[in-house]
Symmetry: C2
Subunit: 343 residues, 2 copies
């Protein structure tokens, strides 16, 4: 035992009367030939001493940590919680250890997290980037660390990315509503500060066809109390605005949280969903099944996106994939109880 009070491989080797090299070979279960008795002695010594390998030493030496860094904007947001769960399952199935960092919706923290992961010499990084510019991308490229982006699209074709057809999702929502006879449809949104929102809205407009579209934007920006609640409340505010003008018979919300907040605000004011107003969300978070009425929405398969991002990254790390992979997941309409036919 050294001055740090930790058992090292050296302590084990001494107690087993073996060399460090042999000890390392045994402890790592390599197929290197070692006499059975020696092997047994070493294993016994390790056990008796309560040896715990120091992965820092190992990673420093080998240049591989078997760790994968994951950066998401928020762990509070069910959407990311699901993605992260997908990542976690794949990584651990394939022998990697995911390390999650939340950037708390702050681009600065996002960059700091990425920096940290690079400095820790992660084998790879999975990131759902919110920063608008390319600082993160540049940093990661310069460091030469394998990275896959997910959620928000990344323009560069050289980069692996698991994204989603946001445009098509918006389009499907609008089209579904028109197919139900709605002629005037509102769009409830947060500020268009990310590509996904812009695309959703573009798609929405496209899906409208002959129907009229009305945009309602909530721009109160406080991120206090978690963006989670904030979005829910945005839904409530948008309803006030909407009710004043009463231009439409249906609304598409930029995400489920807003849709649910809106539905609640509507019911509180005696507007019945879906009888008076139809609502469709975008995302399909688990909670969408739990709202009352259950929310009709367009699914973004966050869990699968997370899993696939992890697969792509690990395949790359293990040399099973060489070119950057750009995967665009398709939306799927999930019909529940928040829409009805407009006559």
């Amino acid at each position: 035992m050294n001055k740090y009070g930790k058992i090292t491989i050296r302590d084990v080797s001494e107690r087993a009367n073996a060399s460090i090299a042999t000890t390392s070979r045994v402890l790592n279960n390599t197929d290197y030939p070692v006499k059975p008795e020696m092997r047994k002695r070493i294993l016994k010594a390790a056990k008796e001493l309560g040896y715990t390998p120091n992965l820092l030493g190992k990673a420093l030496k080998t240049g591989k940590s078997h760790e994968i860094g994951v950066v998401v904007p928020s762990l509070l947001n069910p959407y990311y919680a699901e993605a992260v769960t997908g990542i976690e399952r794949i990584c651990s199935a394939r022998g990697y250890n995911p390390v999650f960092c939340s950037s708390d919706n702050s681009p600065d923290k996002e960059l700091a997290n990425v920096e940290f992961l690079i400095r820790m010499r992660m084998d790879g990084i999975i990131i759902s980037k919110i920063e608008y510019g390319d600082e993160v991308i540049d940093r990661v490229n310069q460091a030469g660390i394998s990275t896959v982006y997910f959620d928000q699209p990344v323009s560069n074709e050289k980069l692996s990315c698991v994204t989603y057809d946001f445009f098509e999702a918006g389009r499907m929502a609008a089209e579904y509503l028109t197919s139900k006879g709605h002629k005037k449809i509102a769009f409830f949104s947060l500020p268009f500060d990310r590509q996904s929102r812009i695309s959703r809205y573009e798609g929405f407009k496209h899906g409208l066809k002959e129907a009229e579209g009305y945009l309602y934007l909530d721009s109160s920006s406080s991120y206090e109390g978690g963006e989670f609640l904030r979005e829910f409340e945005a839904g409530e505010r948008l309803v006030s605005d909407f009710l004043e003008k009463s231009e439409a018979s249906a609304v598409v919300a930029i995400n489920d949280l807003i849709a649910i907040g809106a539905m609640n605000a509507f019911s509180k004011r005696g507007v019945s969903i879906p009888n008076d107003i139809s609502v469709v969300g975008l995302d399909d978070i688990s909670f969408a099944t739990m709202s009352n009425p259950a929310l009709t929405t367009v699914k973004q398969p966050s869990y699968e996106m997370g899993s696939i991002a992890a697969e792509v990254l690990i395949d790359g790390l293990e040399g099973k994939r060489h070119k950057p992979e750009i995967i665009k997941m398709l939306p799927k309409l999930v019909e529940r109880d928040s829409v009805c036919i407009h006559v």
Copy 2:
């Protein structure tokens, strides 16, 4: 540049015509005296080369990683998501980097995660333990790593723990209902496989006073699809059971997810909340404000518990606290719209 293609401190020192030692001193911003020109040269060289410190080397040498490992049963569960956010904020404010691991509700994975964090030589660990026995505790103790437990209570007084008065929470819920005139109150629960659930139920019974209590247990155990939805569905199943017997005018649910699931199932069957049946939850997750009606519940301050756990741990690491700290957070009743007076 070495064979790994990474810039090391050595490369920087060579380019700056300085020694490694001086370079290290400058790069770490120590107050060690270094001539301004030299300092400038080194900084310049580092920048030009795109030097990125290798934290593995540093941690190996110093024995401090400034990383804190966090293990929770699930990141999908909003309760833990909130706790984790509290941890994240404190750690990053105090210069530590939290590393989150989800054990995916599996005791085996929990132990594996803990093992990983120990091997990575984290400075400390924060864990919400689900494993029923003491394996995790023993392992952590043997490794001699500073740890604070949170959520589930830990019996050992030698261990720092941030927990919650589960008994009192159950009691408050029951008492609140009796104070509203309810005489027959049901308790909706999942299996009593953890202390928190047992305590909540005990407290509930205690708070009943002269009122009658009825226990409804959901034991369908599949963890597929995430415990999140599972609990919501458990609420629905419990309602079927309840409606067959119709013994009570109010229900206390072991957690908010079940309460919300139950409320939905009730409304679907034409039972109006709170007019026909009053419901109170336990937890106060953010979703509780978003249900319809908004859920009256007993708050467990998960965000604060996470923050405090982080504070306690870091104080310990920095020698600002020496004895184990046992903190028991108090519940708080949050009145919303799911309860009414029983006549």
